[in-house]
């Protein structure tokens, strides 16, 4: 009787939970469905599935170039963000004073700022530097805005690290460099990897800043999708979106596996 009542009571709770899950997943699944449409415009498949738009995507020089450019930009900016974010976090952890807390907050600013604000600012500064529409420009912008993701995950990993490990290592004859390399890095590796994954995803699907500083020479994937959506409703877009989602999901699964193995 009581269990019946409880089941009844949980119905609205379960209902809303499922609604939320559906609302989160539905748009993504629709994209997958649309990407295999057999019709010549953005729509659900009618008479059967077709892979023509995937073929289209992987044979179109423009799309392939954008994928390649986005990939290169994401890789390089992730490396830069990873190096700066990790070293910055380690520095703050070692000093661990009021000043280092402020510094850590400063490193998180790009995350708290609306991307459009950062994009506008970057446009002004990059224009002076001649970085508009160059790899350098977009890589630097993505690296700077990717740093917060690394700082958050690495700082979390460092918070669980005994500060005496550094003193122990140095008393045993390891200089600062060797201490970071042989003791600190191995112990925060899961945090660093998570940070790299998030920084990569951040660059891989970043649009707003790309709108400001990417152009004819550097045409990232999200930027080309945006232009495509504005100009024509080619279902190739859905295929591209599916690829984007799959790559992102793949990275997240990799990140989860890495975390699971460490426990």
């Amino acid at each position: 009787m009581s269990s019946f009542a409880r089941d009844n009571a949980s119905l609205p709770v379960r209902g809303s939970a499922w609604t939320i899950i559906c609302l989160m997943i539905l748009p993504m699944s629709v994209v997958f469905a649309v990407s295999v449409t057999d019709r010549p415009y953005l729509s659900l498949p009618e008479n059967g599935v077709s892979l023509q738009y995937y073929r289209n995507l992987f044979t179109s020089p423009e799309w392939l170039l954008s994928i390649w450019q986005s990939f290169v930009i994401a890789c390089v900016s992730t490396m830069v963000a990873g190096a700066l974010g990790t070293l910055g976090s380690i520095g703050c952890w070692r000093i661990s004073s009021g000043a280092s807390n402020v510094l850590r907050l400063v490193m998180l600013v790009p995350l708290m700022l609306p991307p459009i604000v950062y994009g506008l600012g970057a446009y002004q500064v990059w224009a002076d530097l001649g970085w508009i529409n160059t790899y350098t420009g977009i890589i630097v912008a993505h690296a700077m805005t990717g740093i917060p993701y690394v700082v958050i995950t690495v700082s979390t990993a460092l918070a669980g690290l005994d500060p005496k490990l550094e003193q122990a290592a140095r008393s045993l004859g390891a200089g600062m460099g060797a201490t970071i390399w042989y003791v600190i890095f191995p112990n925060i590796m899961p945090g660093i990897l998570s940070g790299l994954v998030f920084a990569f995803i951040h660059s891989w699907d970043e649009l707003v800043i790309a709108l400001f500083i990417a152009g004819r020479n550097v045409f990232t994937l999200p930027r080309r999708m945006w232009d495509g959506i504005n100009e024509n409703l080619d279902p190739t877009m859905a295929a591209v979106a599916s690829v984007l989602i799959l790559v992102t999901l793949g990275l997240l699964v990799f990140e989860l596996l890495g975390r699971g193995r460490k426990r």
Binding site: D162, K164, L165, Q167, A168, A169, R170, S171, L172, G173, A174, G175, A178, Y182, V183, P186, N187
Partner: protein
Amino acid sequence: MMTHTPETDTLKIRDLSKTYGKFRALDTVSLGVDQGEFLTLLGPSGSGKTTLLMSIAGFIQPDHGQITLGGRDITHMPPEKRSFGMVFQGYALFPHLTVNDNVMFPLKMRGEKGAQAARRVAEALELVGLSDKGIRYPRELSGGQQQRVALARAIVFQPHMLLLDEPLSALDTQLRGQLQSELKRLHRAVGLTFIYVTHDQSEALSMSDRIAVMREGRLEQVGRPDDLYDRPANRFVAEFMGVENFLPPELSGGQHTLALRAHALELAAGRGRVAAHVTERDYYGAEIRYTAHTESGVPLRFKIAAGQGESLPQEGDAIGLDWQDKDALPLADH
């Protein structure tokens, strides 16, 4: 195997000071430590023991003063160059390395490898009785075993000396006693200089060749355990050595305050040298512990062995207390 440290390795600390803002964590500390000595820094919490040890290790830069090792100035030498083994309260073993690799670490940092290094690791682990735990990870060991690994790691590279900051305080009483005697045995076996920090008076007395008592960043007294126990320089040291009673000059009839242990006070047959009345009486089986107060409110603690007949004083009784002059320690200050 590990007795290479030459005679010249005496550590000298001269006028060392360290301030944090206005707070003096170390106040003109001067101390010499002989080669092979077991020296203990003893003092209450916040007295500057860790600050002094970390200055010796090179992790804290003193504002003033000098540290020399065998005549060489090492005041500004980075810690990794000093070659001092360290053992911490929380062990600080590297969690990502096995026991073997933890102990190998200092050798690896010195570019030693191969069979020679592996043999030294095995020797060090044998010395602490953990030969069979080499392939384990630190988290798979008990607290006492982890502390032994930390010891092996700190001595395997034949350091000039071993610095230990309350290494046993995280362990339970029984294990503590066991590791105390193991540490003493190790000290004799390797002939290394040990500088040991503790706030446990009995630990300091039982283990040390010499004890340096610290208070508010200063050294109060340095001496052999029996020196400190029998001839404390002042009331602070006497209290730290467990002296219970302090008789001001007006009560003792002399020039100085007298320090008297509880067992030195005895119940007088008549009025005795000091009159008091009993305020507390605690039964402990083998003995009964009393607290009495004099007219002027000075507390006096004494003990009477149980089973001495029925004439034991009760709370509220007026009594007289006596002592022998040889048991009384005149103190220099108040």
